[in-house]
Amino acid sequence: MALIEIENLSVNFSSPDGQVQAVRDVSLALEEGQSLGIVGESGSGKSVSLMALLRLLPEQSATINANKLMLDGVNMLACPRQELAKVRGKVASLVFQDPMASFDPLFKIGDQLTETVLTHFDVSSSEALIRVEKMLDRVEMPDSKRVINSYPHQLSGGMLQRAMIAMALVCEPKVLIADEPTTALDVTVQAQILQLIGDLQQETGMGLIMITHDLGVVAETVDNIVVMYGGKVMEQTSVFDLFDTPRHPYSKALLESIPGQLPGKRKLKEIPGQSPNPLSPPAGCPFHFRCENADQSCIDQMPPLTRWDQTNATACLKVAS
């Protein structure tokens, strides 16, 4: 049984201008212990898909539709509130982009971590504190005694992100979902945090989903990759294949826009144009506006996700033919 099974997920947000179609017919799966990178630019629907899985989107404005939305055998679509709380943080944990904004500024780090333990385990608070201390050691937190007694504003971004990872892992979840975990950090700290996440995944055998816009981040931490664009899955592949033989024109364009690819060529290659308007997404391929190979058929019909083998699938008419 797969740990995460998402089939035909669509997420709409109601806004004053109409329905924002953030995620359109997305399917993805994660086996236990696997690692998956979800890559795409802002607004491609990568975060929203996983937030929808954990039902963390605002109920007032977000409409979730899916044929299947399963997390560790729990149907998240039909899950009552109390059951949701049991799954969150225990089966699947999240690490967010901005560690400075991710902690309640009024509580000490230690209190916020033990709170997580006490939410999911029936243990005494001293037992919870012992688990927190152990976890802080495992994330190689320097000066962990001081960190426990510190308020968020007293710590650096890197330390807070370590604490955040410790908080996410302290209940030994089956999958860690890291949503742009290094975007808000200094470059030097970014590498440490990625190394840490990768090591912890190896040690614990947990599943890992790494959501990012940075191909460099996923290259070193995950096995498989889903490329998203305009709320849709463009390509599913392994990390090796993505960098070696990208099939989808969007994946190719993404790779070409990484700085320092071709020596001597000074100007950074960009993808011309803008992402499609989620208020009225195109009927055809969302990338056709910016694609060099697009023709009338790309404008008229959405290419289906064509599967090549176990790991590879591409949604492009030009690649399929």
Binding site: Q60, F96, Y151
Partner: protein, 308 residues
Amino acid sequence: MIGYVVRRLLSISVTFIVVSILVFIMMHAIPGGPFDATEMPVSEAVRAKIMAQYGLDQPLYVQYLKYMWGVLHFDFGVPFQSPGETVIELLSRAWVPSLVLGGAGVLIGAPLGIALGLYAALNRNSWIDYLASAVATLGLTVPVFVTSMLLILVFAVWLGWLPASGWGSPRNWILPIVAYAAIPLATYARYTRSAMLDTLNKPFVTVLRAKGLSERDVIFKHVLRNSAIPMVTVFLPMFIGTATGSIFVEAMFRVPGLGAYFVSSIESRDYPLEMALVFIITLMFCIAYFLADIAYAMLNPRIRLGGR
């Protein structure tokens, strides 16, 4: 924390002195005096004697220092418009109705407003939320003398249930207190709702939910406490109203409170009474902001620990 309290106390004392000097100067800068020929047709010699008796012939800084020396000994002088009693006697007489009116108004309006704002924020876009917004908008935009008029018209004139004015019996108190309570009700409902919504939109609230906290813990343990920080700075100063009442409500319902003296003491250049009233208001503001600062620091570790 102690250093913080001392710093706040010092800054409030400075505020107090600056306000007293400014008011003293402005008061005397208003053209005319309490014993001008238009007020009191007496001979020049008599006027000079009266002026000397009240010390008004001396330079302004001497008058100020003398006055402040008296204030330090709780001597606020004698009101010119009612020379038979001291300022303190007049205030303690007129203050009671204002205290009852303002105190009851805030004690009724504030909890109702907070409850309404909380409920509205937690049930966003429900009919209660729309009701709360409507109440808050009406309460803040419709002047209190208009609501007072409406209350008098409906409950005193048409229905005849309650007296339109006066302060003799508790039955007289109901309409002015209701009219007054509408102000804190509307203000508190509005600020509570917006402070709550502001906190609910913070990323850490999503983190709390993501780590599996029950919605009850998210709201009562984390969101309320965070929302309280912006709320105390708005709310505590509103309690000044409990001490001073409302000039307009008192005028509309003919309540014999402090309100009337605010206007009359300026009109008649009643320096001692005017200074005393300003001192009361300033003191109230200073105490309210001091308490707000302390509450702010107690709630907020970033201030308490002198961080960024």
